[in-house]
């Protein structure tokens, strides 16, 4: 029973639910502020995403007459719920352990696909031509960034599995535990290509410039989320903020989970700092210093560079054995 209560708390308050939403929104606010500073602007206040959410809940909801209603409302809920579940799987070293199942990395991999699927369902259910274009682009985008991600995950699973005597371990807590004992994978030269591949994967998955092709607001007017207004849009915003935590948290758990001492709060702050640095490197600077690429360019890019980098890591791992 206490286990169950704890699970619910983990899902709704900490580290999932409220905490993750607040952290994600705050990170997005910082992202907007830093992006503005990189462009010599003052930018909005850091709490702007919270204000946006409050505003969105007070707006009227417009549903297109030709939309498929169930799918239209299911899509944001699906994406939001999937991300809520995914956050609870992310371990924060020294703060939160995550689940001790042997395959939570695989579950996470599937859950990470949910936001894209939610966008696809929402885009196609809205019966808007822009939504349909966004749908197809989102699908191509997903196909292109899933492969390097998969190779990176397999590499790390193999690395940790081989080192601990098995074949491959798909348990995030075991991977974190291994790094706590043997040093972070960030400082392992065989893992550097994989880290680079993961850094390239982040902007693609988060849908920021230069890979915001499915939601390109200047050409297909925000694509799948075009027809959402009010609370529906707010749910998509929440989903994006949670996805930010999931992706950044996953990167930290995979490459640099090392905690700072034993203090709970210090570790939490340390996690936040790591998230912040990673976000600035992988999202903010990338999106302010590039322009949007074409769909085929993005597809070729993902199949070429990150995949090859991740494969190099895989080969090095196997050779090292």
């Amino acid at each position: 029973m206490t286990n169950f209560v704890q699970l619910i708390l983990n899902l709704l308050i900490f580290p999932g639910g409220l905490f993750a939403v607040a952290l994600g929104l705050f990170l997005m606010g910082i992202d907007r502020k830093i992006a503005a500073r990189l462009q010599r602007r003052v930018g909005p206040p850091v709490y702007q995403p919270f204000i946006d959410l409050v505003k969105l809940t007070r707006k009227e909801m417009v549903v297109p007459g030709t939309a498929h209603l169930q799918a239209f409302w299911l899509a944001p809920l699906l994406g939001f719920a999937g991300m809520m579940a995914a956050v609870t799987l992310i371990p924060i070293a020294g703060v939160y352990q995550g689940f001790k199942y042997s395959g939570d990395l695989l579950v996470l991999l599937y859950l990470l696909a949910l936001p894209a699927i939610a966008l696809m369902i929402g885009g196609s259910a809205s019966s808007s031509p822009f939504g349909a274009v966004g749908f197809s682009r989102e699908m191509v985008m997903m196909m292109s960034y899933e492969l390097p991600l998969l190779v990176v995950l397999v590499t790390i699973a193999l690395k940790v599995g081989l080192a601990t005597g098995g074949i491959a371990t798909f348990s995030l807590s075991e991977i974190v535990q291994f790094q706590l004992e043997n040093g972070a994978l960030l400082f392992d030269y065989t893992m550097l290509p994989a880290l680079l591949a993961f850094l390239v994967f982040i902007p693609g998955n988060m849908g920021v410039v230069p890979f915001d092709i499915p939601e390109a607001e200047t050409e297909i007017v925000e694509g799948p989320i075009l027809e959402y207004s009010g609370t529906g849009l707010a749910l998509f915003k929440l989903m994006t903020s949670l996805k930010m935590i999931v992706v950044l948290g996953l990167a930290i758990a995979l490459f640099f989970p090392t905690p700072l001492g034993k203090n709970f709060l210090v570790n939490l702050l340390w996690f936040f700092l790591k998230c912040l640095v990673l976000m600035v490197i992988a999202i903010t600077i990338v999106r302010t210093s590039t322009g949007r690429v074409r769909m085929d360019q993005a597809f070729k890019f993902y199949l070429r560079y990150p995949t090859v980098l991740a494969l190099i890591s895989l080969v090095l791992t196997l050779l090292q054995r």
């Binding site: 503005a36 500073r37 990189l38 462009q39 010599r40 602007r41 003052v42 930018g43 600077i285 302010t288 210093s289 590039t290």
Partner: protein, 165 residues
């Protein structure tokens, strides 16, 4: 990407270059063509401004009790081109550097520049006429002497009689 990155980092170091406008002061470039100011004292009602106005914003018409001419300029159709100022012989019409044009819908038709030119009676026959502005005399004559000033108080008919006999 690398060249943009260099610019982005430099921007970060330089700090924002934003004007503090809605909260603070801003600058006004010299020669900005803003809201229009009309000086009825200098106007001679030649109606050149009404003729050249691109947006048809200027109207000069006699008021209903025939006591003078009314000048109306509706800023909401004015293109701020400055032709009126350019063609005004006495520079009675001026473009200021005031650009604060935002106003609410209820003030839409009140957003005008108005002026009133009161007729004065002719010094000899008493017919109401548009007063001759001293600015016009300065434009027309090198030095304005007593004779010219006396003539300027007369209506066109009396003036003709006086000069040509």
């Amino acid at each position: 990407m690398s060249s943009f990155l260099k610019i982005a980092i430099r921007n970060l170091l330089k700090g924002p270059s934003t004007d503090p406008y809605p909260y603070g002061e801003t600058f006004v470039p010299k020669g900005l063509r803003g809201k229009i100011k009309y000086n009825a004292k200098a106007c001679v009602a030649c109606r050149m401004c009404e003729h050249v106005c691109a947006g048809g914003a200027i109207q000069i018409r006699e008021v209903s009790d025939k006591s003078g001419l009314e000048f109306i300029l509706w800023h909401n159709t004015c293109a701020f081109c400055g032709l009126c100022e350019h063609y005004c012989p006495t520079k009675a019409i001026r473009l200021t550097e005031d650009y604060h044009t935002a106003h609410r819908q209820e003030d839409k038709y009140r957003y005008v520049e108005k002026g009133f030119i009161k007729y004065v009676p002719c010094a000899s026959c008493g017919t109401p006429m548009v007063p001759t502005a001293p600015e016009l005399l300065n434009v027309a004559y090198d030095n304005v002497n007593k004779d010219i000033e006396r003539l300027s108080k007369l209506c066109s008919k009396c003036r003709k009689e006086k000069v040509c006999g």
